[in-house]
């Protein structure tokens, strides 16, 4: 009976959704309401106003900088929540999880990972630094660095990777995304503009035309480093085990 009721409810919902979809304007039509108000303004003005070739980056970092700053703060909050539940490892102690089972990781995989980690990191640096020209940017690049750290940690074990990426390196970089974003925003205020206007608008053009682009790249680097370190820290605090296996002075 309960199942039947649920099924009926879902069927009604599906019918409603299908009805709505059938009445939606065709995809990609320039006459659509979404495409007639704010989008032409972005497409025409973005390159001139934000100095980024990739309009998406211009929109998320410049026009909608407040939103993106909120998102970056959300990622940071996720780390804070994970640490609040699981706790950060104590400094100077080294923990093990995956490498505790007594099964050493495969030599073949180790050699391959050693060979591929530089490439993965280089590719993510490219993704971060070219965010204003080609697709990609801080979030994507940070996630790819996070992926390389994940594979490094799972193959070489938490013992190795928490020594190579010690807490004193991760700790200042976790907040880098929010901090850099905030500082660049304040820079706009110092120059007489509003928060997040990317440098003092009058002086910037006189000083150097590419200054705004460089500030955008700076924010991308901050987001990338911060995101990567947040992911690494979340992974570390998730795979850590309470029992310590070694103490480093």
């Amino acid at each position: 009976m309960k199942n039947l009721l649920a099924l009926l409810f879902i069927a009604a919902l599906a019918a409603l959704l299908l009805y709505v979809v059938a009445n939606m304007p065709p995809m990609g039509d320039p006459e659509n309401p979404t495409a007639t108000h704010v989008i032409p303004r972005y497409l025409e003005g973005a390159e001139e106003e934000t100095h980024t070739v990739n309009v998406i980056t211009g929109i998320i970092l410049n026009y909608r900088g407040y939103d993106t700053m909120g998102e970056v703060t959300v990622i940071f909050t996720a780390l804070a929540a994970a640490l609040a539940v699981l706790g950060r490892e104590r400094r100077g102690r080294i923990y093990a999880y995956v490498d505790r089972s007594g099964v050493p990781s495969s030599v073949i995989v180790r050699t391959m990972v050693r060979f591929l980690v530089p490439l993965i990191v280089l590719f993510s640096v490219y993704t971060i630094l070219h965010g204003e020209i080609s697709p990609g940017g801080g979030f994507q690049g940070g996630a790819i660095i996070g992926g390389s750290m994940i594979v490094f940690t799972t193959i070489f074990g938490l013992y190795e990777s928490s020594r190579r990426i010690p807490q004193k390196v991760r700790f200042p970089l976790e907040g880098a995304a929010v901090m850099v974003f905030f500082l660049v925003g304040v820079l706009g205020m110092v120059g007489g503009g509003d928060f997040l206007t990317y440098a003092w608008p009058k002086a910037a053009a006189a000083l150097h035309p590419a200054l705004v682009t460089w500030l955008t790249v700076l924010v991308e680097i901050g987001i990338g480093l911060g995101g990567a370190m947040v992911l690494t820290s979340i992974l570390f605090c998730m795979i850590r085990e309470e029992e310590e296996i070694a103490v480093v002075a």
Binding site: N54, I56, T57, T127, P135, G136, G137, F139, Q140, A143, I144, G146, G147, I150, T154, L231, I234, L235, M238, I239
Partner: protein, 84 residues
């Protein structure tokens, strides 16, 4: 022709979503969910959104899958057989 391609992608998407929901083994659900992310990235590419495709491929298929697997190994793996 392009419509047929989109249809196949959407079929795959719906199939993976349903399989992931109905899998009793949580590990299987997570692994099938990573396939969902892969197909979703393909869909973003068809919609000409490279930024989102990159994000979905990197975050959805890569990082979240491993984090979910870690979480499952930290907790119980089988779904609780309750009632019935």
């Amino acid at each position: 022709m392009g419509t047929a391609l989109n249809l196949v992608f959407i079929t795959l998407l719906v199939a993976t979503a349903i399989l992931a929901v109905f899998a009793r083994d949580l590990l299987a659900a997570v692994i099938i969910f990573s396939v969902y992310s892969l197909i979703m990235a393909l869909m973003w590419q068809r919609l000409q959104a490279p930024d989102l495709a990159l994000t979905e491929a990197a975050v959805g298929a890569g990082v979240t899958t491993v984090l979910f697997v870690v979480t499952i190994f930290k907790t119980r793996r089988r779904e609780e057989e309750e009632g019935e």
